[in-house]
Symmetry: C3
Subunit: 351 residues, 3 copies
Amino acid sequence: MFSRVLRSFLSPEDLTLAETNELLDIALELKRNPLRYDLAGKTLASVYFNPSLRTRTSFDVAMYQLGGATTTLNVGDNTWNLEYRDDVVMDGACAEHIREAARVISRYAQAIAVRAFPKYTEKWEDNRQEPIHKGFVRESSVPIINLESSLHHPCQGLADILTIREKIGKPAKEPIVISWGWHVNPLPMAVTNSVLLEVAKAGMEVRLAHPEGWELDQDIMASARSLATSAGGSVKVYNELDAALPGARAIYFKSWGSIINSGAPDVERGAALAHQRHWQLTLDHMKRMDRGLFMHCLPVRRGVEVMADVLDSPYSAVIDQAENRLHVQKALLLAMLLPPRPDPSSPNYNI
Amino acid sequence: MFSRVLRSFLSPEDLTLAETNELLDIALELKRNPLRYDLAGKTLASVYFNPSLRTRTSFDVAMYQLGGATTTLNVGDNTWNLEYRDDVVMDGACAEHIREAARVISRYAQAIAVRAFPKYTEKWEDNRQEPIHKGFVRESSVPIINLESSLHHPCQGLADILTIREKIGKPAKEPIVISWGWHVNPLPMAVTNSVLLEVAKAGMEVRLAHPEGWELDQDIMASARSLATSAGGSVKVYNELDAALPGARAIYFKSWGSIINSGAPDVERGAALAHQRHWQLTLDHMKRMDRGLFMHCLPVRRGVEVMADVLDSPYSAVIDQAENRLHVQKALLLAMLLPPRPDPSSPNYNI
Amino acid sequence: MFSRVLRSFLSPEDLTLAETNELLDIALELKRNPLRYDLAGKTLASVYFNPSLRTRTSFDVAMYQLGGATTTLNVGDNTWNLEYRDDVVMDGACAEHIREAARVISRYAQAIAVRAFPKYTEKWEDNRQEPIHKGFVRESSVPIINLESSLHHPCQGLADILTIREKIGKPAKEPIVISWGWHVNPLPMAVTNSVLLEVAKAGMEVRLAHPEGWELDQDIMASARSLATSAGGSVKVYNELDAALPGARAIYFKSWGSIINSGAPDVERGAALAHQRHWQLTLDHMKRMDRGLFMHCLPVRRGVEVMADVLDSPYSAVIDQAENRLHVQKALLLAMLLPPRPDPSSPNYNI
């Protein structure tokens, strides 16, 4: 059904703009006609190193609505802890290495989906290597889907760009703000990265707003700028929110932990955060935009990052974003688990 | 299939006596012919704030035997803690509000089932508001099923009245004892309330037995008396078990925590409980009834509330009660998820 | 499909050699043609007292690929702790007795699968009674499958003898080493016991290697010797690994806790273990065998029991063993849940 074999989906960069649009078209068709049987007999093994609400529920439902099934491992809970470092003597807390786990699960399931957040107690340079996801890709003989890694939450990015298409129309040249928000905990930055790359890929005029000290990963920024250039869009950084708002058609508001504080003592992080409490989204911010859409990946802490009245306002697209997770993931599962569409230009096409 | 749209099922009072009987008839038909495909493509999302054995297993099997599927969230475990209070700044342990959670799950699943026990560390006046269940009903766009709340366990009530119909016959005017039992922990009173309302609705002669200080909620008592009056039955309270037994056709034995001790220090509760140890059900009690049926919702602590020889005696209906959970829940799921039966008196009936 | 009714599967001794081979033939047919619908409408209830990776995933997939479904209880987690001792006053940590749990689950599911490891803090004489598994068999009205008990992991044994048939050919008279390995924790010996009985049943020349003090259960040894004698094979014990290797076609390497230290203080166990660290499997050991197959049930701790280069070598059959879990379990589920094949010698066979 999809135009090519998709072996793994770890990042928005695994799909070109044309491929992304092709996938979103399939998602919209599935949104209209949700039930299929293409994946009958096929199982997705979902491996969670961290909790989940939307991801877990939407992937379970996605597989079922396509005729397939899901089996779930919760690492450190219904299964033991898994080691991912190479060449260690495994005399600690981990009873099994992902080298064996990924190979074994590949014999049972037709695809594996993995969620593993970064550890904020460790340096960003270590987290950004994404050893768990890369290990699964290396060891598995079936497709791997990223349910959120240190760098990316690409299914969220797909759902968000679909929501933008539905709510705003053609995204190219449209201004969007992606803003940091204040929070009580240092959150992963995977969603921000994936949304940034998706909207840059779509050629939007991207305004990235965050306090000094909350810069994104440099490679992500380079990728975003490169994608934007290719698509005729732009990426501009702001260190205050107000300057980024005028004329914007949407604001994607999301907290993340500072890279430079990753691995640092809690007390330093707390002091740095205390100065940034004014990065909370209010209705007043929304009114300064141009029919601005409020976007957030959820979960969101009401009254912390975002005021409750923003979430409850007609600006909010958050429930539609969440719903679109289901539709884009179904498209993705079909793209990864069905044979690709024959190429009409191939000499063997009619055979 | 069912005669009307059933939008949520929180309490026995959500169904009239006629509707209850209609549902039980569907349940009996499903007991004879268990496999159907009416719910193909439909998913039930089960949200557990507390553990479960029968409820979890029977709802999973119910959906599967009807052609549907279940996806499960265990709050604070495979998903994060959920806030249910309005207008709080969410800077504590909860990462998401049920306002978002219920709306999002409604986009994935065709019904949501929720279990949330009361917290015995809090005042009964707060627990009885059932903020979690009411929140799900308010925020969800799909039907809500109560898997046990502070006030009710209505699926258990349905299973129990079906068991009474099967074992005793027509329940109207038949005497039944509902008795408190001694226990090491203060248990929820939801089962007692739901069974009380179901048997009152069915017009039984209800004898409610408990020590002074273990009175049920006043609104529940008022509802029970009103239902009983409508159906030609009665509700009478006893403060000792022996007086309630003669001639009774069944005893429903169940412990619950005292309302007046809810929120009080543990030491006070312990002292109050120590005096009530004689409220344990023995074979001797069973023999003083009229071919009395022993009923209990399970789980039961052998040798604590009920002596093992009662559970192992031919008086016991507990396994049949548990089995009937499956059948009544399948009837309920069909009633909630299929379009209602056309009304033959409607002018459009033949169109 | 299978030649007789199989009421429970707790041990390799529940199947004769002929029946084992019959089951393996069905497994091989399912390996070639994995999807069937024979178990449509049937549910397996899986009850885990301990974590799992292969077992959980492979049984979920097995039921799904046969048209059935699985529902899972994780004891002490998504359900409460279960009591298994007879005649105790249940005023402790367990809210329900397996007497009720097994009977109730039997009303919902068509088979029950149970995993319960021994407790190394208790005496072996108590663990070897397998009270949880025996309780489920006694109380349940549906077939019981052992997912690992104190004495056995019979599904693993089946997968392993299938792997031997595939990799070595006819097992009779072929030499195989079953060896203890050093480990940081005292592991269950169930896998060793089941593999020992399976290979003895198949008539292999079995060389059991372990340090003094790590002897297997005497009844297991007696069973192994009896099975070996019947099949023309043998069982010989070695107290050093090197002597067992020459000419062997396979080595099954697996750590287990010492019976005599079960229930003893940790400090004694640690001291005993410290002297046995040389029982680690290296490539050098593999080279001293005859095209030797490396077998292990997984999970394995790299660099602890087995050196990483053994696991990564072409000698290793561990991923194939794990895959075969799926196929043998599907054969087992069909054998337990479908009516047996009619006996051609029966006068009613053609009716």
